[in-house]
């Protein structure tokens, strides 16, 4: 069980719960004016709770990297196509 206090907002609890070891995963806002969230992960089977959190954050990082690469490749492709009819 792990109850955390994280600073700053946008986050994705969805990615964390896709691991089978996670029994509970959720968050709540301490107060709307404070930029902190209470984040709670509960695992089953004796797995330390920081594991799915770490895995989830790493996955989110990898997802973003892939999105970034794909997006940049498509933008360059689009710009290349735009320049061609001009020539």
């Amino acid at each position: 069980m792990l109850a955390l206090l994280l600073k700053y907002k946008p986050h994705v609890s969805v990615l964390f719960s896709v691991s089978v070891d996670v029994e509970f995963c959720g968050y709540s806002i301490t107060h709307p004016s404070e930029s902190k969230i209470n984040f709670r992960i509960q695992t089953r089977g004796g797995v330390p709770a920081s594991e799915p959190l770490r895995a989830g954050l790493t996955q989110l990082n990898d997802v973003c990297q892939h999105v970034l690469n794909t997006f940049q490749a498509r933008v360059d492709e689009f710009k290349g196509r735009q320049d061609q009819p001009m020539e």
Binding site: V18, V20, S50, R54, D62, H66, R74
Partner: protein
């Protein structure tokens, strides 16, 4: 036209728009939820299903599709575009002389909202602290606005047009001049720093009134003040999907076509009769008008594809929209790595 989808597939992937409500809104494909489906997260399946398609792009607006992500991630990108991608904006306004009709604070507020064309990635955040007046060259841009209105000596006697009678009676954003500090003149020699648009009217003057103002621009994010938001707006919508459940012909087909946005449905000729056909459901704005007609509402099914996001990003002019999207993705990655670092260091203790 009528794509026969099994019920399970539909619950997993479509949001259904009905007359009195919307069904299947939330993602339900968690591991273990559906017997027979393996929903555990895998980077491979994600990479296989994920794609980005750029529909349209120019210097100020772009429209692109992101398919295969969860709504939470798409929403995170949208929120970061609005509130956490930094820009430069006027923060401190030193009013040495303001004899115009516009009050000091109103004028200062207006100046803050003007988008400033300066790449925020080349600047640092300013530490709010002791040095209130001085800003260094890596975190501040200094702008000056000095306008004095006078009577035009060459105006004809009977004219009533202010454009003829007065000189400098309209203060535009193009009158804001950049004053380089330190080595900014060399570093930003070819980047003309100043307001993005020169035709924003700031104040109106009459002879004898003048403005003598110095402004400091700093780097900030939209979360702090909306003036720092780099997008005019950034939004997304889900791809609509319209399917006909039965063939519709003749006058009914005409009425059905008029229930949707233009270009969504067309009439095709078959055996001399006109049948309705869905041509491009992407153009629909999902007004659900068809559900208001008793005889038409059971002929169509309105749905949205849950993981297909059509993003529209309009830049306010500071950075091109594709750069803004890449910056937003990088901001999310920075947050992830920061949490990961904290997690790792706190575990050592």
């Amino acid at each position: 036209m009528a794509a026969a989808m099994s019920n399970v597939e539909e619950i997993r992937s479509r949001v259904i728009l009905q007359e009195y409500g919307i069904r299947n809104v939330h993602t339900t494909d968690f591991p273990g939820n559906y017997p027979g489906y393996d929903d555990t997260w895998s980077m491979q399946t994600f990479k296989k299903n994920f794609r980005v398609d750029i529909v349209d792009m120019d210097d100020s607006t772009m429209e692109f599709d992101m398919v295969g992500v969860d709504a939470a991630i798409a929403n995170a990108f949208r929120r970061i575009l609005l509130a956490e991608v930094p820009t430069m904006a006027v923060e401190k306004v030193f009013i040495y002389n303001n004899t115009s009709i516009v009050q000091d604070e109103i004028l200062a507020h207006r100046l803050g909202l003007i988008p400033i064309k300066a790449d925020p990635r080349l600047f640092e955040y300013r530490n709010e602290g002791e040095d209130d007046e001085e800003g260094s060259e890596i975190d501040t841009i200094k702008l000056q606005l000095k306008v004095k209105c006078s009577r035009n000596p060459r105006a004809t006697k009977d004219s009533a047009d202010p454009r003829e009678l007065y000189l400098n009676h309209m203060v535009y954003s193009k009158d804001m001049k950049w004053v380089p500090i330190g080595n900014q003149a060399d570093v930003f020699a070819d980047a003309n720093i100043g307001p993005v648009h020169g035709d924003i009217l700031l104040a109106q003057l009459r002879p004898g009134q003048e403005l003598d103002i110095v402004m400091h621009c700093v780097k900030g994010i939209g979360q702090d003040h909306a003036k720092f938001s780099p997008v005019a707006t950034a939004s997304y919508r889900l791809l609509p999907e319209i399917s006909l459940l039965a063939p519709v012909e003749g006058e009914q087909a005409e009425r059905l076509r008029s229930c949707f946005s233009r270009g969504v449905m067309e009439l095709e000729d078959r055996d001399g009769k006109k049948f309705a056909k869905v041509v491009n459901s992407r153009l629909d704005t999902c007004s659900r008008e068809v559900l208001r007609h008793e005889d038409l509402k059971n002929l169509v099914k309105l749905a949205r594809v849950r993981d297909h996001f059509i993003f529209t990003v309009e830049s306010s002019g500071v950075l091109p929209p594709d750069v803004l999207v890449t910056e937003a993705i990088k901001v999310l990655m920075t947050k992830c790595s920061r949490f990961l670092n904290e997690l790792n260091t706190s575990n050592m203790e």
